[in-house]
């Protein structure tokens, strides 16, 4: 059973990919541990930064520390935006 992590903006560059699959169930601490093991340390720091928001299946999450991923979920990491 897996869920998908999506990296937007410069997070894609830090991750070296726009998305990865992770085994679920997976909570926030487990997720950070997974990223520490497989990705650049800067990605882990950035993902944990308060300015990086997260959306679970297209809905913004107020408290990302409480997220628990289940089968088929998509969790997107959203760094500060720069549009227009």
């Amino acid at each position: 059973m897996t869920a998908k992590l999506v990296f937007l903006g410069r997070l894609e560059e830090l991750a070296g990919t726009d998305g990865i699959s992770v085994d679920v169930p997976l909570g926030w601490a487990g997720l950070l541990a997974h990223l520490s093991e497989h990705c650049a340390p800067e990605l882990v720091e950035t993902v944990a930064d308060v300015r990086v928001k997260v959306a679970l299946n297209g809905a913004l999450i107020a408290e990302k520390g409480g997220v628990v991923l289940a089968e088929g979920d998509e969790l997107a990491f959203l760094p500060p935006v720069s549009g227009g």
């Binding site: 560059e13 997107a76 760094p79 500060p80 935006v81 720069s82 549009g83």
Partner: protein, 147 residues
Amino acid sequence: MSDVRLLTSGFDPAAELSAFTAAHPQAGGIVSFLGQVREGAGCEALELRHYDPLTLPAMQDLAMRVRGRWELDGLLVIHRSGVMLPAEPIVLVAAAARHRRDAFAAADFAMDHLKSESWFWKREKTGGQWRWIEPREQDFEDIARWG
């Protein structure tokens, strides 16, 4: 009602504005803003990325907030995603209203919020290298004006 579009290929701002104007003959004034890729400073290309589940829905929400705040006959919001070259259009906002002050304010508000709150990430190519662009302090100050 509002016409809100997220485009992944180029558009013709003059044709869009002309169609919008023709669709709102009852409006006494139409204010538009066109944002384009700035030429110079070695800029070779600009890329805007979006996230499907969030970007267009949030643009539609923004259009509803604008409509709730000002008395408008029509509102047009077109935003590009993808790679653009210098002088290509990025964003077009037009507000049609009976009175010009509503149209000016609505277009201004929509642009400030598109710049600093919409789900877009921007990177610029200079000297063959892509570089992500961080939000500017000015964008936050612009949006703070609206309270």
